[in-house]
């Protein structure tokens, strides 16, 4: 143990009340920071998992062809405009695209989807629904549909082409249960009868209120589409790689490709704003704790003026005196961060068990929390920065104290 750490520790332990006060501020600041981040990210993570689980991490959509610019050289003053694209609805070579894209190591699986909007009717209730024509086997492998089923069996859907799986909120709205009949209206104006084989809850309100899954071939006939897929959805090993892979796929297949980050940008920004807002609010608590430590250490310097002069007379350098007080701050930061992380994890665990009924953007029956080491890391970093800044001024002041002035106070 260095002499400055030793003396700093002794100074700190000698003033137990001040130490407790300083520690409390840091512990609560760190713990509350962790809790709020765990909650806000918990809800955001739930949303992300749900949307990726239902709509995939990456979607390849309609084909495009660049609209080639004129061969004439533009004037130098002309601003360059991005090349326009000619769009062609649907994917005609879905199997070929899927075969190639499966070669990418990031791709776990992919599934073609024929998407369209139709009217649904059950009893006297009507609703406009988002019809997903899927390959039952591939879709089960690519999405979380099996986990999302809250009623019925997926095999019943897989083995019977006249069955549907519908979103939980839509089922409530139409008043149907598994085994019930519902009808979908084709563009030609005729109603097709289906049996509800399952009810799925994605956990995202907009999906659960509109989504209907049917078999791809049935959907193609119902929607009267000339192509078998309007998009291909992908499950990736690392969803974080989706934007890079989307760019790669777009260049490779000449089809519009969209990552989940682009698709859910507005909602993600909302969550990000909430997290940032919570982080700023809680950071103020840590800053207040830092201010408390500033006061405690300043008082400590004032009460230790004599000791500082003695230490200087014994050969301690200015930098040593400074280090004694910086060590005190560092020890408070270290102990406060450690205890704060412990308290934060306990509080996060407890908050995760608080029952709450959420039926809107998200579906949840209790507080959603996220366990992420980065919350602990950043809370600790923030606490250490705040405490060290708070310690710096008193430490510098201590180092600048002229020892002779103090010693002269007792004898001239």
């Amino acid at each position: 143990m260095t002499p400055t750490l030793y003396i700093g520790l002794r100074f700190l332990l000698h003033r137990k009340r001040a130490l407790l006060l300083s520690l409390t501020g840091v512990v609560f600041g760190v713990a509350i920071f962790i809790c709020t981040q765990a909650q806000t990210q918990g809800f955001a993570q739930h949303f992300v998992n749900s949307t990726i689980g239902s709509n995939g991490a990456l979607v390849v959509k309609s084909r495009f062809r660049p609209r080639y610019p004129s061969l004439a050289v533009p004037a130098r003053t002309t601003k360059a405009t991005p090349a326009l694209r000619l769009q062609f609805e649907g994917i005609t070579n879905a199997n070929e695209i899927m075969r190639v894209s499966r070669q990418f190591p990031d791709v776990v699986s992919c599934s073609p989807v024929l998407r369209g909007t139709v009217s649904a009717r059950a009893g006297f209730q009507n609703a406009t629904v988002d019809l997903y024509g899927v390959d039952a086997a591939l879709h089960a492998h690519t999405t979380d549909i099996l986990r999302q089923l809250i009623a019925g069996k997926y095999d019943d859907f897989r083995n019977n082409t006249t069955t549907l799986i519908i979103g939980s909120k839509l089922a409530d709205y139409l008043g149907v249960q598994t085994g019930d009949t519902m009808q979908l209206l084709s563009p030609s104006g005729e109603y097709w009868r289906f049996t509800v084989a399952g009810i799925a809850r994605a956990g995202v309100g907009s999906i659960d209120a509109t989504r209907v899954y049917a078999h791809a071939r049935v959907a193609q006939t119902l929607l009267q589409r000339p192509f078998g897929a309007s998009m291909i959805i992908y499950k990736l090993r690392d969803p974080g790689r989706a934007p890079a892979l989307a760019t790669q796929f777009e260049n490779l297949f000449q089809h519009n490709s969209e990552s989940w980050q682009d698709r859910e940008e507005s909602t993600l920004q909302l969550f990000l704003t909430l997290r940032a807002s919570a982080a700023i609010t809680v950071s103020l608590i840590i800053l207040l704790a830092g201010f408390g430590i500033f006061n405690v250490l300043t008082m400590s310097v004032l009460t230790k003026v004599k000791e500082i002069a003695i230490l200087r007379s014994m050969g301690y350098r200015r930098i040593d005196i400074s280090a004694i007080f910086l060590w005190q701050g560092a020890l408070i930061a270290a102990a406060g961060s450690f205890l704060g992380c412990l308290l934060g994890s306990v509080l996060t665990w407890m908050i995760g068990r608080i029952p709450i009924r959420i039926r809107g953007l998200l579906y949840a029956d209790h507080f959603l929390v996220s366990w992420d080491w980065r919350h602990y890391f950043w809370a600790t970093v923030l606490a250490i920065i705040a405490v060290l800044i708070a310690s710096y001024v008193p430490a510098r002041r201590a180092a600048e104290l002229p020892p002779v002035a103090t010693l002269r106070g007792s004898s001239v």
Binding site: P3, A309, G315
Partner: protein, 239 residues
Amino acid sequence: MNGQTALKCRDVERYLGEEEERVHALRGVSLDLEPGSIHAVVGASGCGKSTLLYVLGLLDAPDAGFVAIEDEPMSHLKDAELARKRNEFIGFIFQFHFLMEDFTAQENVMIPMRRLGQLPEKEMCERAARLLDAVGLGNKLTRPSRHLSGGEQQRVAIARALANDPRVILADEPTGNLDTNNSERAFELLQRLVREGDKALLLATHNPAIAEACDWIHEMMDGRIFASHARAQRGTSFS
């Protein structure tokens, strides 16, 4: 004064305060401290005794002149180097002992050793115990310094000043806060340790008996040493 000097100063000038309150505290002071010698600086309060001690102890810088430890001038050294010299070569004893209240007697003595960093923890403990034993406090090693009497605290301060086996001990009224009995005991202790360790001791004192017991008496007035008397010149023996 002949032989190699442990500490010396030449033509030291020191001003204290600012503008109207500016005081010429030291006026061309020169002094040599040889190993094994005991020097007393006497004079009225405010004559510059403490200022001289702080300048010689490298706690304060002279405005003119220089201080040298073993013939090495200190004027050009920076704060960190001066601190190292203080730690290695100089031991301070103050009138109000100035112990660290949060520490035990033994821990107080170990503080300079920790800074020097030449001994492992165990040896520092043993050396501190030996020093405290030498000043008669071998049975109070673990007692917090604030629970010691005034005389005991001053003896801890003496042990602490000797912690790094310095060549020079500077004592500012070391017995000024003690009763007669304790004053005599503390001075005798200092005398013995200085003689045994071949150290140089300079003490500022108002106590004539203690001054008379020193090898040299330097009389100060208005920032000047106007007279220095060796014991031989005084024709008496006090030790």
